[in-house]
């Protein structure tokens, strides 16, 4: 049928030549795109108390808790593809792309990792976004050396640390009694959505913008100091410790 179409167009027809070139170009681009991305997938059995430690160079990392006793790691690598050599140590899954790709340039690596709900999660990247969801454990740590957003949703952990350079931080979770929560950004917005029944000691500092919005958490025990650059005090009994610092951005509190 294609031959009949070409016959109809006639030999040496400009339309025919253009069509052929277009098809060749499309196929070459598609093939190049396919070859530029590599996929890595692996699953590890996990016990009750597993710790995921990931150090990425550039790319997005998404970690989600699920109701299975196993850790699923899927990574999509852009060219030049990075080496990924996960290590399953006693109670810990360790992925260190910095060590595994020392001295060589790599493209973005985007991770999609699923862990048991009660896993400890410790992830960091030099550039890129970090997202953690549905985790109930002793530790959630997300660290971005330079640019990227941190999104922590449905988190119930006694120790939470989120730190980035340029980018937003959003936390939606519980403040546990005796817990320690630390959110630090150089420039961006830090928004915390926590239950109104939370009890915490607070030191919130936004020295440049003086934009600290306590929302419904504002009360007489939380006072503005240093010309409005810092809010300090406690909400309810002050059972947890909450430290929020945004050097050149604002801080907002919302009730969930």
């Amino acid at each position: 049928m294609i031959c009949r179409v070409f016959d109809l167009l006639g030999p040496g027809s400009p339309v025919k030549t253009t069509l052929v070139l277009a098809v060749v170009f499309f196929l070459s681009v598609f093939a190049a795109d396919v070859s530029a991305q590599k996929r890595f997938a692996r699953t590890y059995p996990a016990g009750q108390d597993i710790r995921l430690q990931l150090m990425n160079r550039t790319g997005t990392v998404t970690v989600e808790g699920w109701n299975r006793p196993e850790v699923s790691i899927v990574a999509v690598m852009e060219a030049p593809a990075a080496n990924i050599v996960p290590q399953s140590l006693s109670g810990m899954i360790l992925i260190n792309l910095l060590r595994d790709n020392q001295g060589r340039e790599t493209g973005n690596v985007n991770f999609m990792i699923k862990v048991p709900f009660n896993s400890k999660v410790d992830i960091e990247t030099r550039i890129g976004n970090l997202q953690v969801a549905n985790v109930r454990s002793g530790l959630v740590r997300a660290h971005i050396s330079s640019e990227g957003d941190i999104t922590l949703t449905n988190i119930s952990a006694t120790a939470v640390s989120a730190e980035n350079g340029l980018g937003d931080i959003f936390f939606d979770g519980e403040i546990m009694e005796g817990g320690n929560y630390r959110f630090t950004s150089m420039k961006g917005n830090i928004n915390l959505r926590i239950p109104f029944s939370s009890s915490f000691k607070l030191i919130a500092t936004a020295p440049s913008t003086r934009n600290i919005n306590l929302g419904s958490f504002a009360n007489s025990d939380l006072v503005y100091v240093g010309d409005g650059r810092r809010v300090t005090g406690k909400f309810r009994d002050g059972a947890a410790t909450l430290t929020v610092t945004n050097q050149r951005g604002g801080i907002g509190f919302f009730s969930r």
Binding site: G103, E105, R126, S146, G165, M186, P207, R248
Partner: protein
């Protein structure tokens, strides 16, 4: 009979208890010797008084008390004899008993302990990071005294020293970054430069504030934080 023999016998003669021949000899001598005659008259007059006065008037009302007074008078008039001085041990000009010495040592120990407790309570050594955030307002009295005598850094000096250390570390990591930078792709270089620029702006702002108000604790704390952030950024990217 001579005078001596007469005086020895005159008492017995006055009592009429002398034998008659001797009494005649005494009478003969008294008749011839004027001195012995006077002694005899004196004695006779004493005996006469004693015989005429009643006994209660003659005897002391309280002889024991009178003897006590006499003894006191004799003792007060007598020169007190100084007791021999004990020999002083060579090299010691004071004397302390063992109990006194123990008490003194105990007192010194208690006082020094109390002073130490007071000093420790007044001067809690601040953490290393805290040196940068301290100001004259938060200094304890002991810290102020030590600062004035030059035994301790003032908060301003401590902050400057800390900054100097941080700048030295930043220089080191910056040199490492410059070595690696050429191997980064364009996206990485741009992201790094953007972040460094924001941090440097913050450092500049806080230093300006602290120049105007060196006691601004919050700016001191934030300056320390952004310097640490800068160091961490450089270190993280030096590994790429």
């Amino acid at each position: 009979m001579n005078c001596d023999e007469c005086k020895n016998l005159i008492g017995v003669f006055m009592d009429n208890e002398l034998a008659e021949p001797q009494a005649d000899e005494v009478r003969m001598h008294l008749a011839l010797c004027m001195d012995c005659a006077l002694v005899c008259e004196d004695l006779a007059s004493i005996l006469d008084v004693c015989s005429t006065e009643s006994t209660p008037d003659v005897t002391a009302p309280n002889s024991q008390a009178m003897w006590c007074r006499i003894n006191n008078i004799i003792e007060s008039e007598a020169k007190p004899v100084a007791p021999p001085e004990p020999e002083q041990p060579k090299g010691r000009f004071w004397q302390l008993s063992f109990i006194q010495l123990s008490a003194a040592v105990m007192c010194i120990a208690v006082i020094s302990s109390l002073l130490t407790i007071v000093a420790v309570r007044n001067y809690n050594q601040p953490a290393e990071a805290d040196f940068t955030t301290r100001s004259a307002a938060t200094q304890t009295t002991i810290e102020k005294v030590l600062s004035k005598v030059g035994l301790m850094q003032t908060p301003h000096e401590a902050r400057e020293a800390r900054l100097k250390e941080q700048f030295a570390a930043i220089d080191y990591w910056n040199a490492r970054v410059q070595e690696r930078r050429e191997q980064w792709n364009r996206t990485t270089r741009e992201a790094f430069d953007r972040n460094l620029r924001v941090i440097d702006e913050s450092v500049h702002d806080y230093r300006m504030i602290l120049q105007k108000d060196p006691d601004d604790e919050l700016s001191g704390e934030m300056l320390d934080a952004v310097m640490t952030d800068k160091m961490n950024l450089l270190r993280d990217f030096a590994e790429l």
